[in-house]
């Protein structure tokens, strides 16, 4: 079998003949990697996932999941994938165990095997003590973990995670990341996730695709993406009132030096290695380094570079959206 778990070619979705949600995207996901779609609300992340998990039909283009065509072999696709949707879809009136068993029944897994797996999964997501409690009483983090367990009941080869930590607090978010890393490490699972959290994409994903207006603008490892910006920013100041730009620019890996407000703004690759060299060079010439700071470019800078806008602004509306969903849930209960 090929190493490509997912391959999308010119995948396009147009809603109502005018709204282009996903615009001819091409990408492939390799076995065992965590592949992330990073982008703001409405960028087409969920639409792409929905096409890959066969609940939306693409308007154009094609995609395969483990070699199965998403249109022609949709039932085979459904059999081998696991999905953890953005919403909390577990039934509030049922217990955790009942919810997992319901999922297993939808995959047609015999009850005996399902029972064993369900207990294992509850252990994995640390919900064993709550297995007979109704989901109604669960916190956001517990619900998310239950969703994760449900998505794993059919031992999927690839797990789709749509905004896995949306609306969770920082602690729960970190815990969820650990479960996701565990899945990759212990089960060699391939994961496809969407997120609008830069930190999440940065710390979890092996490769990130930045998606904006339905198009993939750039793909790469978080490190490569950050380096592609031309390296880190070192800000350095010296006591003496002399221009040392020429001196600094001769140091290895330094790409650009600018004098700004009495300090030097140095663009350099591998800043943490380069900064000591700069200090040493300056000292040798008898200058005294008065201040120094090192900023590594974050994915936000990458994002800014490629889309022309900051992702931070988009986050707020996203949180509002998540809380609205919660309100709706409560309204129902």
């Amino acid at each position: 079998m090929s190493e490509e778990i997912i391959k999308a070619e010119g995948l396009t979705k147009v809603f109502n003949h005018q709204l282009v949600a996903v615009d001819h995207v091409n990408f492939e996901i390799k076995r065992g990697e965590i592949y992330g779609f990073l982008g703001p609300n409405g960028a087409g992340k969920t639409t792409t996932i929905n096409m890959l998990i066969t609940i939306l039909k693409p308007t154009e283009g094609r995609a395969t999941v483990l070699g199965f065509d998403i249109l022609k072999q949709s039932n085979d696709v459904r059999n081998v994938i696991g999905v953890v949707p953005q919403e909390y879809t577990a039934d509030e009136d049922l217990t955790a165990l009942e919810n997992i068993l319901l999922c297993s029944d939808m995959y047609g897994i015999p009850r005996k095997i399902a029972n064993e797996r369900a207990l294992d999964l509850l252990k994995l997501v640390e919900l064993t003590d709550f297995k007979d409690k109704r989901v109604q009483t669960f916190s956001g983090g517990m619900r998310r973990r239950l969703e994760l367990a449900c998505g794993l009941i059919n031992r999927p080869k690839i797990l789709f995670l749509d905004e896995p930590t949306l609306g969770l607090d920082v602690q729960t978010r970190t815990a969820t990341w650990n479960y996701i890393r565990k899945l990759k490490k212990e089960y060699g699972m391939t994961l496809f996730m969407t997120t609008h959290y830069l930190e999440e994409a940065d710390s979890l994903c092996d490769r990130v695709a930045i998606i904006d207006h339905g198009k993939i603008v750039v793909v790469g490892t978080p490190e490569d993406l950050k380096h592609s910006l031309g390296g880190d920013i070192i800000t350095i100041g010296i006591k003496e009132d002399v221009d040392v730009s020429g001196l600094i620019s001769k140091v290895e890996n330094v790409k650009d030096v600018k004098k700004e407000n009495g300090a030097y703004r140095v663009k350099a690759e591998y800043g943490e290695v380069t900064a000591p060299f700069i200090i040493e060079t300056l000292r040798k010439k008898g200058y005294t380094v008065a201040k120094l700071s090192l900023t590594e470019p974050t994915l936000n800078e990458v994002y800014l570079e490629y889309t022309g806008k900051s992702l931070r602004d988009a986050e707020e509306s996203r949180e509002a959206f998540a809380s609205q969903r919660m309100t709706m849930r409560r309204a129902r209960a």
């Binding site: 609940i55 459904r78 994938i81 949707p85 939808m106 047609g108 095997i113 999927p156 849930r329």
Partner: protein, 306 residues
């Protein structure tokens, strides 16, 4: 690919799991469960006992009318009594003629079964919208469970609920004084549940088919309001069709509720059973169920995968 999901289940797998999920919301919630039993009792009390049409012709009320009549010459005691007897006979034959039973309560209680079936199934459209809004529908769609099974589990759960409620209604109605017809045979209860199954499958599929595309909870509610009462009153559930105006009779004659109620009445309370008519009733409701369920499932294929 040995580790892949190796369990290729039948095409119908998951149907009981999904049906039971719906049912659990009902039988595991004591309040909802109790309410669903109280509701028919209330309706029966209101419609069956308060609107006691038989009482209008009862000898008591007739005597009152007679005593107020100013006739010349005034009625003698014997004449008045004879008139009373006459009216009593008139009452029985009017009731028998119009309702095929001397007791309006029995007539109405049976209509109540169809009424409950209609209202219980009307909610099935709503649960599809909820599942869509809360994301459960998308999750179900991403599993190998068949689209038809997703829809049919809704139909089936509404059907089972209605059948259970119908059983309760019969028991309550018996306690309130339902009289079985002269030709009643306990086996007919099976016939009752059979036709109830058919009508519920049909109605529930209809409500789901109408609301399958909607994303707002208001849509199924509006549909329910629009459809349920006309379906109810343009049928023989509470009143026989033969005393309706002719245009309404036409509507009632195509309304599957009419056929259901007729079959149930024939089986349970009529003094003589017209087997040919019962057969026609079953045929009509059966065709209705098959056609609407097919349309419902076809639409679900079309609209559940956008």
């Amino acid at each position: 690919m040995s580790e892949l999901n190796e369990h290729r289940a039948s095409r119908l797998h998951g149907i009981w799991a999904l049906t039971n999920r719906e049912l659990k919301k009902w039988y595991k919630a004591p309040v909802i469960f109790t309410l669903s039993i109280i509701q028919p009792i209330l309706w029966m009390g209101l419609l069956g006992k308060a609107m006691n049409i038989g009482a209008i012709f009862s000898s008591g009320s007739m005597e009152q009318i007679i005593s107020k009549l100013v006739l010349t010459p005034p009625l003698t005691q014997t004449q008045s009594q004879q008139l009373g007897v006459f009216f009593q006979g008139l009452q029985t034959s009017i009731m028998q003629n119009t309702f095929h039973t001397s007791d309006y309560f029995s007539f109405m209680a049976v209509g109540m079964i169809a009424f409950t079936a209609l209202f219980t199934t009307a909610f099935s459209g709503m649960s599809v919208v909820w599942d869509r809004r809360l994301g459960f529908l998308n999750k179900a769609l991403s599993t190998p469970v068949s689209r038809a099974v997703i829809v049919f589990s809704k139909v089936l759960s509404a059907t089972l609920r209605s059948m259970f409620q119908a059983g309760i209604i019969i028991l309550i109605a018996l306690a309130f004084g339902l009289q079985f017809g002269a030709s009643f045979n306990p086996v007919f209860i099976l016939g009752l549940f059979a036709i109830l199954f058919l009508i519920c499958v049909g109605l529930s599929s209809m409500f789901i088919a109408i609301t399958i595309r909607s994303t707002r909870i208001e849509t199924p509610m509006a549909v329910m309001n629009l459809i349920t009462l006309p379906l109810m009153f343009a049928s023989n559930a509470f009143f026989p069709t033969n005393i309706m105006p002719s245009w309404l009779q036409t509507v009632a004659s195509v309304n599957p509720m009419t056929y259901t109620t007729d079959a149930v009445r024939q089986l349970l309370i009529y003094s003589t059973i017209d087997l040919r008519q019962v057969g026609l009733d079953f045929l009509y409701v059966g065709i209705f169920a098959i056609v609407v369920a097919t349309i419902g499932i076809a639409l679900s294929w079309r609209y559940l995968s956008k």
